[in-house]
Amino acid sequence: MRFLGLPAASAWLLLAGTAGLVVLLYWLKPSPRRLVVASGLIWQRVLESRKRQPERWRWWLSLLLALCIALAIAAALTRPEIAAVSGAAADVVLVIDTGPSMAARGADGRTRLARALEHAESIVRAGGAGSRYLVADTMRQVMTPALESHEDALARLRSLAPRAGAQPWFPDVARPAGAGERLQLWFVTDGVAHLAVPRQARLVSAFQVADNVGITAFEVRALPADARRHEAYLEIANASPGNKRVEVQVVGVGAAPLARTLQLRGGAAANVVLDLSAFKEGPLRATLRADADALDLDNTAYAYLPGKGRVRVGLFTAGNPALAQALRLLPRVGVEVVPPERWRELARFDAVVLDRFAPPRPPTVPALLIAPGAAPWLPGSATDVSDTRLERWDGSHPLLASLSLRDVLVDRAPLLALDAPGNAQRLPLAPLARGARKEPLILATRAGPRLALLSFALEASNFAQQASFPAFLSNAVDWLTREPRALAYSIGQVSVPAAQAQVLDLEGRSVDTRPAPAATLFDAAEPGLFTAMTRDQRLRIAVNALDPQLTAVNASRFAQGSAPAASAAAAARLRIDPWLLLLALATILLAVEWWTYNRRATV
């Protein structure tokens, strides 16, 4: 027997002292009061008429009752642990697998997590009355696991739900702070997630074979032959043991849904390509339907169908075939090379690229200026810088998104004086990339007409030879023509590459976001299409659960039938603490003592 409230020696001392005190008090019990009566005659008759009760056993009975009451109360103070009554107290750590595969429903319609929680609750109920419990999960739903009571542990277990989008991990709870020597570590899992489980952890399987078919890939891509046409590429995987008949449907804007029916063998995958020409620009949703599908998460995927219109770009240059070719390689871009003398034709284009040329007035259409030279509406430069390189750039700006400019070397570039007096009349340009000496090399307007400026000529740098150059041009055309960018993410935490963006879901509802450096974060628990809006750009964000490992819900370590069943499902013990029982016993004995005293069975 252990004592949870006191060290064992102190507890035994307390019990012995209590017993001694009770006995002492009984010995010190004051003698009865002497009372003189007129005559003992009547009393004598009464006492003779009544059967005299033996006094000594009453005294012993009374002492016994008092001892039991006092010892029960004293023992309750020590919070004894009586294994035979309520089990041995221990610190029980329960790690619950809350990965996405735990949402898979079995043949009985219950999810694996429901089975896992059932096992976990049986472990909690089987624990001793003085046990403490720590509940943690593999998807970080329990942020700060701590030892807590039986009731709190059960409540915390019930708050868990399957979650996707983050890398599962085995929390560092093998030796929690404040844990006692009796520590049990349980891991309730379906065995799908591959985690570094401590050796002392006892595994409890929540695995049950499930039928599941899911979308493992969904992409929208332009046809190489015609950038204005797109096709959808889907990969469908059947993770079920048996064959499945799968109906795939893609819903878009402006046309009837596209549907395909597939027959998939167990464990097989199939690719589906659908022509999206009939759809207009806008969201796409791919869904599949199969009988007895265990997991909903991978049955839906979203994408964004970009606009199909051709962008007319005018390249005003005295001659730069490489640049013209690079522009032509961009999808949906129609390039027309125009001599600088015809600068008055700027308005004919959706956007213009002015190579080493600046018109006398600011262009009325969005423009990318490359080494434009001096112009009254542009920032002036007094000197040039040479042998510099791009060292710092704003990656959150759509112009430079997803670019690495670290290897861009610049032989010579004008040193633009952005803060020089007289610039108030000039176009306000903000630097997006600077050189080694903080000289602005790439600039853009923050408001008003969109205009980007590359201060150095392509011939004076190796930028045109960099892999990032076509992407830069693509970004520039998209930004200049205000083309929404489409981004794809996995479910979970989504980091939008735009600061202070407002995120809306497909129904236009605002989504809770968190600010981050040069980004905006939000959580997407399930697939969806979101729109992130900042002051100068709009992003289409497709969030999907496209993961073959996610769909493979039967790829479990327990799939071979060696699953340790819920061995923890021991018989539930009495949940009452022994100290409560002792107090109840003391109360009952007090009642007995009162009853017997009133009937003079005790003294």
Partner: protein
């Protein structure tokens, strides 16, 4: 001992006896003797030596015969008052002995007032103090002083006291016993002595409230005031109830004895106002008129 107002109330009372008075002196009680009383008793022929004042002259004129009218003679009443002055009477609130003293004083005063012969004795385990026969109201202070001088001591032995007292010839009269009758030897034998001499008897049973309904702690050692013996008792409601019943039965036994022989019996409850006892209880009992 008493207030003037109470004494004035006592002035109007008379001791009653159920039989004829056997006193030798003129008193206020009817007697068996025929003489010069006020109450007509009978006629008889005149004989020489009779008081001619009692000749019925009307009969003589009608019948020409001398017929004497006879009257009951009113005699005094010998009152033998026995007051228990044992240790058991020194108990209760109010004190039983004080209460009994007052009761004896009041009855003695009434008897003296009616020219009865008052014999006052205090007893315990035998006769202790005796006041010689007193008659007439003027003797009342002596009676009161005697009563005041009594001190409680000794155990109760009524039989010994009565046997000794009545071993001498006593005119038949009214015997008044004032006691708590807590006599370990029993009182029937003592009362048999009175019955043998055919006295008219009245028992005044003095009871303290804490005797009838004691309030005792759960554990108590009861010490007998007379014997000094101690008994440890666990007081329980059942025991208390049994005590009350036994005490009541004890009083009823005494009362039953008295009723059986036509004697007077009254409970002198010390928590009862003394005036109520004398002016109401004793009158209802027929001891006073």
């Amino acid at each position: 001992m008493f207030s003037d107002a109470f004494l004035r109330q006592l002035d109007m009372l008379t001791l009653l006896t159920r039989g004829r008075a056997h006193g030798q002196l003129r008193g206020m009680h009817r007697s068996r003797r025929v003489g010069s009383g006020m109450v007509f008793a009978d006629y008889r022929p005149y004989s020489e030596g009779d008081d001619i004042r009692h000749i019925d002259w009307g009969i003589y004129l009608r019948l020409d015969r001398l017929i004497l009218r006879l009257f009951e003679e009113e005699a005094d009443l010998p009152v033998y008052m026995f007051l228990d002055a044992s240790q058991s009477m020194d108990h209760g609130k109010p004190n039983k002995l004080d209460y009994a003293r007052k009761l004896a004083g009041a009855l003695g005063y009434v008897a003296l007032l009616n020219h009865d012969r008052v014999n006052l004795s205090a007893f315990a385990d035998g006769l202790r103090e005796m006041l010689p026969t007193r008659r007439g109201k003027a003797q009342a202070p002596q009676v009161f002083r005697f009563l005041q001088s009594l001190q409680p001591r000794g155990r109760t032995h009524l039989h010994a006291a009565l046997r000794r007292y009545f071993s001498s010839p006593r005119t038949r009269g009214l015997v008044i016993l004032i006691s708590d009758f807590l006599d370990a030897e029993g009182i029937e034998e003592a009362l048999a002595v009175l019955r043998r001499f055919r006295h008219d008897v009245a028992l005044l049973h003095v009871m303290a409230p804490d005797e009838r309904n004691p309030q005792l702690p759960d554990e108590v050692v009861l010490v007998d005031a007379e014997e000094g013996t101690a008994t440890e008792v666990e007081i329980t409601p059942a025991l208390l109830s049994a005590y009350r019943n036994t005490f009541e039965q004890h009083a009823r036994d005494i009362e039953g004895y008295c009723r059986k022989y036509g004697w007077g019996y009254a409970r002198a409850l010390t928590d009862l106002p003394f005036e109520d006892l004398v002016l109401k209880v004793l009158r209802q009992e027929g001891l006073l008129r």
